[in-house]
Amino acid sequence: SSMFVFPHKLVLKTCGTTTLLCGLPRMLEIAALEAGFPYVKADLPQDVPAAATPHRVFYSRKNYLYPDQQRGPHRSWRDEVRYLDKMFMGGSAYMIGKMNGEHWYLYITGPGTQLTPPATPEEDRLETKMHSFQIPEKLNNVTDSGDETLEILMTDLEETNARQFYLDDASAIAKDNARRAYDLRKDAVAHLGVIPECNGSDPSISGNTLVDGKDDARFDVFAQTSVEHSALNSDEDEPLSFSQELSTEGHTLGTVVTENSGLADLYPTSKYPDARIDSYLFTPCGYSANGVVPVPDDVESTHYWTVHVTPEPQCSYASFETNVPTRATGRSTVDVVQHVLGIFKPGRFSVTLFEAKGDNDSTSAKWDKAMERIKGYRRVDRIVHDLEGYELVFRYFERE
């Protein structure tokens, strides 16, 4: 699961039996009372005293594999919509795709969302008005142009590809890497009489914090640790056994998987020097990663991507989502999709591209056409929705 906090919006993506919508009232309260967004009294669960009025709300999900095991308002789409409708006025709910196949749900509110007012006496309504702040027309009308979100939801992952998201496999790769680092050092000491420094950045570690590391920083720490262990035992032919902690630590192995799977090459540091990936490998399997991608020459603009993987064969699933705009990368949407598909090799997948309507309609049309042909797959569905200010294109593919 992941959360992204921008100055003006919050993105929360959670899996399993999490109760995401139960966090929404508190989220609105925090935005009001801690971040200072305009707020009103509203008829919300959990009796929150104040709730910020959102500009827009989007809630979406694929159909669950095991809906009966969900909790709270998540047991059915109807319950989720009912929960949201109790909070927001004028929301719209959609089901996109085949009812008896792969489908996707979306709930959306339009610009200038209104919270459902409490059924209260007149004096409370007056109080509501006192807390309200009317957003000036010119601010409320700022265009969302340039905003785009690409989401790929993949099922039936190729078993070999799914294996790389298991602790056993990742640990074996990590040990190989450590052994190679040891061998390099041993050769250098034997032939040159010097101790080579690790390549890449030179991270400093303070308490729980790794500061200013680049994308391979943790691996360097990890390799260096192994080298240092070996140095203490330089007379031995074999390196010390790889420490238990390093071979199971989720963040360390997450980094190994990120490098080895090709996810690190999605937005490489050679092109995005300040990009950073934070990843975690769960025990005995499962993987999550967040990437932040500051766009060079535009310090105002940092975007994200996120990947979550459940690799077990009976319920294999991977999701990829990014809001890195294609205009900033010079890379087409279809290239990104092909790259991600190459990592997971799913049997079936859906792609949703959610894009604010803007000036790039001709470019979008070109990419839209390119997305029709994904090598090795047959496009089954293409559904376009014209939603207040946004265009949503949903596609569903199956392996040929």
Partner: protein
Amino acid sequence: PSSLANGTPHLTINKEITALDLDSSCAFEGPEKLLEVWFCASEQALPPTASPLGLKVVSQDAWKKMLDLVNCKVLSVVESRNVDAYLLSE
């Protein structure tokens, strides 16, 4: 951190949570729920009542309490100038 000023993201690992045995054996439902809440149209359109940092002014502790309601724990956070990325359990 000073690194944020020059645009370099900064990672913090929550050792308290990652030291726990985060066993995923019972995971069965991959498909996620996705919520996006916009409080204004863009970073440039923050209302005058809001902090200049908007939601980024909110403490990690406040978000953690909200995430308790969702049944998620924070594993690590990457802070950058425009966005803070939280990697969560579950």
